[in-house]
């Protein structure tokens, strides 16, 4: 009963926060307009795949793998590409018991499309990229299962 009460309060606060006018800066240029979709797919798939390899096969674990790849993306790519790469890196943090190479690559491809479609939704709210990654990852696992 106590947990349900706290849950309802948290849900109410979540909804209120969601409808708050968010003073975020959205990048004015769409990725599809100045970069080809193929190029964005390559960034997303390679970021997800390399992170997954570092995480599972190289045995670094999800934290070191994502931190390492995030730093490389953060310093090597342009700001708009960095966000896309970091979103894809979250996919590579998946556990081997849930995902495999095929789902990671499929999720990377999906991410490059979903990221562009959802770029103005809740822009600037922390955790948005991770939420997109979780949605895309679940979609990929569901589609390929």
């Amino acid at each position: 009963m106590y947990g349900v009460f706290i849950g309802i309060i948290l849900l109410g606060l979540f909804v209120m926060g969601f409808w708050t006018r968010l003073a975020a800066v959205v990048h004015p240029k769409r990725l599809w307009h100045n970069r080809s979709l193929v190029y964005n797919c390559m960034i997303a798939v390679s970021a997800a795949a390399v992170t997954y390899w570092l995480n599972i096969h190289a045995g670094l674990g999800p934290l070191i793998a994502s931190g390492l790849m995030g730093l490389i993306a953060g310093f090597a790519l342009k700001p708009d590409q960095t966000k896309l790469a970091y979103a894809a890196i979250f996919i590579g943090m998946s556990g081997a018991e849930v995902t495999n190479w095929l789902t990671v690559i499929a999720a990377g491809l999906l991410m490059s499309v979903v990221y562009e479609l959802a770029r103005e939704q809740c822009a600037g709210v922390g955790g948005r990229l991770g939420t997109l990654a979780a949605c895309v990852g679940i979609m990929a696992v569901w589609l390929l299962s």
Partner: protein, 122 residues
Amino acid sequence: MIAGLVTGVGFGLAMYWLRFGLKLTDVQASALLVLIAGIAVRVFAVDFSYGTVAACVSYALMSDQGILSSFMDYVSVGLLTGLALTLFSKTLTGIGGRLGTFAFVSVLVWLGVKRLFRTKKW
């Protein structure tokens, strides 16, 4: 649970320093914090949950400065994220992006709190 909350606040402060002290971008600050936490967990054989709290807090505090900017914002979101991760530690296990999802919910809950009290001091 208390340890998770304290860890959340501590990493919130670290993230504040990385972003406003060292002037790193959101992705650079988050990635650096996650990398340091990951190495610390390995080297000092600390419980992995502390590393996940660090990652989760860093994702939450990637928010734009128009949304979260004050010291109080960072401490509060760090606390909320630590709480969310402690309460829902078994949810979405193995799915990439689960920590980001908790972070997203925590930020929106904090924005809801701010809206509820409508104070400009924070």
